[in-house]
């Protein structure tokens, strides 16, 4: 479980970092807090030839309140620092989501960017190389087989990043930077359905910052995991609503950790917008989930439990919106 051989560079500016990454995009990797990358390198799930440190890049730091009330957060901001930031604290759902990540130890190292770029997880793959030898390679490690859901052609590893669902619900946009320039996109478009290329980051491209508009109404977040501390989620939900007369007139609900891409719900949300937040409407929204989940894997929790959990996550988020 030692680190594989590689080179290491610690650039002092974004341009320098992008140039380094761009020189050999396929074999280099950025390291922010390292809490995910080092783990994966120990298991030889990642074997970059060059690791480029983001630790000293001023361009990735900082939390700024923009004139429209949005928050612009540098991808290199440590989660622990964000929790101490007053602007972040005012958005309690966001603060709650950050606090739910791992443990304070990890949050003292981990960054926002690292969390959003977190590698997808699968318990046949996120193991040591020796362990994996027992089953042979999979889609992610170079074979046509998937051990989690035999027969699928696209990797179904889970997106376990706890901050993604809420930030998508809050309509955050991501700013990406590469040697070729910058681009912006809604966070939901940052993710894909492929557990291998699970973000749209191009070769040598970095996540530079996140811009979160001020919540138009209540936002809620809830994480369900085995333990309260230090645990990846079994399921998370982030939701944000615009309310008028106790009824949502705009609503976004996102489920996390159940699938490869955070799930921005459609039919259940339409149900609520049509029927409101009464008990019957919530039950109808739960039933409307059925078509949105697709095939679920048995990763970490049984698939049947995931299906049940999705219903509960949705219900609890809606109840909290109703109470807020």
């Amino acid at each position: 479980m030692l680190l594989p051989a590689h080179d290491y560079a610690q650039p002092g500016s974004l341009d320098e970092a992008l140039a380094l990454l761009n020189a050999s995009p396929a074999t280099s990797r950025a390291i922010a807090g390292g809490t995910d990358l080092i783990y994966n390198m120990r298991g030889r799930l990642e074997q970059p030839e060059l690791v480029v440190s983001l630790r000293r890049l001023p361009e990735l730091q900082g939390v700024r309140q923009l004139s429209d009330g949005s928050l612009r957060i540098g991808a290199g901001e440590r989660l622990a620092d964000l929790l101490r930031n007053e602007a972040v604290q005012r958005w309690s759902a966001l603060a709650g989501a950050i606090r739910s990540v791992a443990s304070s130890h990890v949050r003292n190292m981990a960054t926002l960017g690292g969390n959003l770029c977190l590698q997808t997880r699968c318990w046949y793959t996120n193991q040591s190389e020796e362990w994996r030898a027992g089953r042979g390679p999979c889609l992610k490690t170079g074979s046509p087989d998937c051990h989690a859901l035999p027969g699928v052609e696209v990797c179904v590893a889970l997106n376990n990043a706890d901050l993604a669902p809420l930030l998508i619900a809050m309509q955050a946009t991501a700013t990406l930077a590469s040697a070729g320039g910058r681009r912006e996109l809604p966070l939901e478009d940052f993710y894909t359905d492929d557990g291998i290329a699970h973000t749209v980051l191009g070769p040598g491209e970095l996540l530079l910052a996140l811009t979160i508009p001020p919540p138009p109404g209540p936002a809620v977040y809830w994480k369900h995991s085995s333990r309260t501390g230090l645990d990846f989620s079994w399921g998370t939900v982030g939701a944000s609503a615009t309310m008028a007369d106790g009824r949502p007139v705009a609503l976004r609900v996102v489920l996390g950790s159940l699938t490869t891409r955070p799930l921005l719900l459609d039919a259940p949300v339409r149900t609520i917008l049509e029927q409101g937040l009464g008990d019957d409407a919530i039950a109808a929204a739960q039933d409307a989930l059925r078509g949105e989940l697709g095939a679920l894997t048995n990763l970490y929790t049984p698939a049947a439990y995931k299906r049940e959990l999705a219903r509960i996550l949705l219900k609890r988020a809606l109840l909290r919106l109703r109470e807020s």
């Binding site: 680190l3 590689h6 610690q10 390291i31 440190s53 003292n108």
Partner: protein, 160 residues
């Protein structure tokens, strides 16, 4: 593979040493620096026995971070908690409250407890729970660990 000379301040002492990208901060602390108070456990961030402090007195996991990242920075290990031969009050509280059993987790648990107190001089129970959930103490079940932290915290309370 490059090896680099790095400068590290550990427990106030300056070191210059050659480190390779394959070494974590933990490898360097326990290996060339010979500070074996910091323990090696899971090496994957989930047991906390490798906990040390960064320059701000926050708990970080030395097993999950490359040594080269720390060039020019300061770190405190369990060996650095004593001041002129006197135990830190949290160390003494661990003895008094029997928050130590086998002792293997203890350096990491104490560094974590100290970090909780650094941030919250008189911590509430949820602040203790949050700050200590990254470590695991199989022996004590954390019960007396929490007691020891509370005891130091409430002593501070009385002082103000």
């Amino acid at each position: 593979m490059n090896r680099e000379m790095i400068r590290l301040t550990v427990n106030g002492d300056p070191y210059e040493l050659l480190a390779s990208p394959r070494q974590t901060l933990l490898d360097v602390i326990r290996g060339p620096l010979g500070l074996t108070g910091t323990k090696e456990g899971c090496t994957t961030g989930s047991c906390g026995v490798c906990t040390v402090h960064n320059a701000s007195g926050e708990a970080v996991l030395s097993c999950l971070t490359p040594a080269l990242e720390w060039d020019g920075e300061a770190v405190t290990t369990i060996e650095g908690l004593e001041t002129s031969g006197r135990l830190d009050e949290i160390q003494q509280a661990f003895i008094d409250h029997h928050a130590v059993q086998c002792g293997f987790c203890t350096p990491g648990v104490i560094m974590s407890a100290r970090a909780v107190l650094n941030e919250h001089p008189s911590p509430q129970m949820d602040q203790i729970n949050d700050g200590m959930s990254g470590v695991i103490c199989r022996c004590t079940g954390h019960i007396k660990v929490r007691e020891a932290i509370r005891a130091v915290g409430s002593k501070l309370d009385r002082r103000v």
